[in-house]
C-alpha cells in the first residue's frame, strides 16, 4: 500500500513537471544550443592538430567532445537558482508543510527537463555527424547502458552538491554566487573544455581524487570508447554520492530548523 502511494507520487510529480516543461520547448531548445562550447573547443583542437601531442586520434577526440556535450546536456543542474528564488519569494513555506521533501519536486523538474531536451540534443548530434561523417559510430549496448548509468550518477553528484549549496540559502539568502564560484572548477576540470588526459601531470596527479573528472570526462570517455577505467570510475562516482548524501541530509535538517519564512 505504502509503496503504491510512493509510486503514485513519483508518477504524478514527473507527469506534472513534464507537461510544465513541454510548455517551454523553445527555451529548452535554446538551452541545448547554449551547450555547444565543447564543439568550439573541438574545432581548436582539430584545426591546430593539437591531438597529435596527446596520442588521441582525430576521430576519437571528436567523439569525445560529442559525448562530453551529451553528458553535459543530461547532467545540467540548476536547483540552486530555483530554490533561491522560491525561498526569497517565500514559496518554500507551503512546500515544507507537504509530506514530501521539496527537493523531490526539483528532482522531478530536472528529470522532466532532460526528457524534453533529448530530441533537441539528438538534432544537434545529427548536424554534428553531417559535418563530421567520419566520426559516426555505434557503441555496443553494454557500454551504452553503462554510460547512461554513469551520466545519471554524474547528474546525481551535481544535484547533491548544488542541493547542499542551495541549503545555504537558509543562512545567506544569496547562495547562487557560491554556486557560480563552484561552477568555475567544474567548467575547467571536468573535461568539458579539454579531456583530462591532456592536462599537465602536475594537475593529473591530484585531479582524480576530486569529484570533477567523474562529472564529464569519465562518462564521455566511456561512451566514446576512449581508454578509461570503468569499474574504478563507477565506484568513485558511487563513493562521492555516499559521501555527499549524508552531508545533504544533515544540512537540510539543520537548515529547516533555522528557517524563518520571509516576513515573519
Amino acid at each position: 500500500m505504502k509503496s503504491n502511494l510512493i509510486n503514485r507520487k513519483i508518477f504524478t510529480l514527473l507527469k506534472v513537471q513534464y507537461s510544465n516543461m513541454l510548455e517551454y520547448r523553445v527555451e529548452i531548445a535554446l538551452w541545448a544550443i547554449s551547450g555547444i562550447i565543447p564543439f568550439f573547443m573541438l574545432n581548436i583542437w582539430t584545426n591546430n592538430n593539437l591531438y597529435e601531442s596527446i596520442n588521441i586520434s582525430d576521430v576519437l577526440l571528436s567523439r569525445y567532445f560529442l559525448c562530453a556535450f551529451f553528458v553535459r546536456q543530461f547532467s545540467v543542474v540548476w536547483v540552486v537558482f530555483s530554490f533561491e528564488e522560491d525561498s526569497l519569494m517565500g514559496k518554500v513555506s507551503p512546500y515544507l508543510i507537504q509530506p514530501l521533501n521539496p527537493f523531490f519536486r526539483y528532482f522531478a523538474q530536472h528529470l522532466a527537463e532532460q526528457i524534453t531536451r533529448f530530441p533537441f540534443a539528438l538534432i544537434i548530434a545529427f548536424f554534428f555527424f553531417i559535418f563530421n561523417p567520419e566520426s559516426l559510430w555505434i557503441p555496443n549496448l553494454g557500454i551504452l547502458l553503462l554510460s547512461i548509468v554513469s551520466t545519471f550518477l554524474s547528474f546525481l553528484i551535481q544535484f547533491l552538491i548544488q542541493s547542499i549549496v542551495a541549503c545555504l540559502c537558509f543562512w545567506t539568502e544569496k547562495a547562487s554566487s557560491i554556486e557560480r564560484l563552484l561552477f568555475i572548477p567544474t567548467l575547467f576540470l571536468s573535461g568539458l573544455l579539454a579531456p583530462v588526459v591532456s592536462f599537465p601531470s602536475y594537475v593529473k596527479s591530484w585531479i582524480y581524487l576530486t569529484p570533477f573528472p567523474y562529472l564529464i570526462d569519465f562518462p564521455a570517455n566511456l561512451l566514446s570508447g576512449n581508454e578509461t577505467n570503468i569499474s574504478g570510475g563507477l565506484s568513485m562516482q558511487i563513493l562521492w554520492i555516499f559521501l555527499l548524501f549524508p552531508l545533504f541530509k544533515k544540512i537540510w535538517s539543520e537548515g529547516t530548523k533555522k528557517y524563518t519564512a520571509m516576513g515573519s
Binding site: I37, N48, K174
Partner: protein, 264 residues
C-alpha cells in the same frame, strides 16, 4: 536632449544601485574569487593548448594572453553594466512594469541600459587591466600616443558591439517574453572570444565575423596591441560598431510599437 540632466540622473542611478549592492558584501568577495579563478582557469586551458605547440593560429602564448586580458576587461564590463540591466528588461516586460519606464520623462533606452550597476564587475575589469599591463611588458610593446588612441578606439568599438548584441537579444523579449535562454546562447558564443580567431576553422571564422561579429570584439584590439592590425580592419570595426549601435536603437523603437503591457 539635455546632457546635463542625463548626467545628473546617472549619478543618482549610481548612488542607488551602489547602496543596494553593498548590502551583500560577502557576495562581492565571492564574485571577486570567482573572477580570479575564472581567469586562472582560462590561462590553464590556454596553457594546455600550448604545451606542445609554439603557435596556435599564428599566435604565441604571450600574444594570446593579450586576448585573455581584453576578454576579461570586456567580461567585467558586461558583468557591471549589461548583465544586471538587460536581464531586467525581461522582468519589466513579464510583469508589465515597463509601463512605468515608458512614462518617465527620460529616454527609455538610457533608463533601461544604465539603471543598475554591479560593483563586483569592477574588480574583474581591474584584473584584466593588470594582465594587460603584464602583457605589454612581456611582449615589449612600446607605448605611443597613436597606439594608445588606436587601442582606445578599438576597445570602445568592441564595447559598443557587445552592448548592441546584448540589447538586441533583450529587446526581442517584447515578442517572446522569455529570452533568458537566448542570452545564455549569446554567452556561450561569446566564449570563443577568449581565443584568437585564426585558431578556428574557416567556416566558423566566417560565421563569427559576418553573422555574429564576436571576432571583432577581442581579436582586432589585440592585433592593435601587437602592431599587426591593418588600417582597413580598424575602419571596418568602427563601421560595424556604428551600424550595430544605430540598428539596436532603431530596433528598440520599432519593438516598442509592439509592446502591449502585461495582461492586456
Amino acid at each position: 536632449m539635455n546632457l546635463r540632466k542625463y548626467f545628473k540622473v546617472y549619478k543618482k542611478f549610481l548612488y542607488s544601485s551602489f547602496a543596494s549592492e553593498l548590502e551583500y558584501k560577502t557576495n562581492i568577495l565571492v564574485d571577486l574569487i570567482t573572477a580570479i579563478l575564472s581567469l586562472i582557469g582560462s590561462i590553464f586551458l590556454l596553457s594546455i593548448f600550448f604545451q606542445n605547440n609554439g603557435y596556435i593560429g599564428g599566435w604565441k602564448f604571450e600574444q594570446a594572453l593579450i586576448i585573455q586580458a581584453i576578454y576579461t576587461i570586456l567580461n567585467g564590463i558586461t558583468n557591471t553594466w549589461f548583465n544586471p540591466n538587460l536581464t531586467e528588461i525581461v522582468k519589466h516586460i513579464r510583469e508589465g512594469t515597463l509601463d512605468f519606464v515608458l512614462l518617465k520623462p527620460i529616454d527609455s533606452q538610457f533608463f533601461i541600459s544604465l539603471k543598475k550597476i554591479n560593483p563586483s564587475g569592477f574588480l574583474e575589469i581591474m584584473l584584466g587591466f593588470f594582465l594587460l599591463l603584464f602583457c605589454i611588458r612581456i611582449n615589449q610593446i612600446n607605448l605611443s600616443l597613436s597606439f594608445l588612441s588606436l587601442s582606445l578606439i578599438t576597445i570602445s568599438c568592441s564595447i559598443c558591439i557587445l552592448y548592441s548584441l546584448w540589447f538586441f537579444i533583450s529587446t526581442t523579449t517584447i515578442w517572446f517574453v522569455k529570452t533568458w535562454n537566448a542570452i545564455e546562447v549569446l554567452r556561450s558564443f561569446l566564449y570563443i572570444g577568449r581565443f584568437p580567431l585564426n585558431s578556428f576553422s574557416f567556416s566558423l571564422r566566417i560565421f563569427f565575423s559576418i553573422i555574429i561579429p564576436i571576432a571583432f570584439i577581442t581579436t582586432i584590439p589585440s592585433e592593435v596591441f601587437l602592431g599587426l592590425s591593418q588600417l582597413w580592419k580598424i575602419l571596418l570595426e568602427v563601421i560595424v560598431a556604428s551600424v550595430f549601435l544605430i540598428t539596436s536603437r532603431k530596433f528598440w523603437i520599432f519593438a516598442l510599437k509592439f509592446y502591449s503591457s502585461a495582461s492586456s
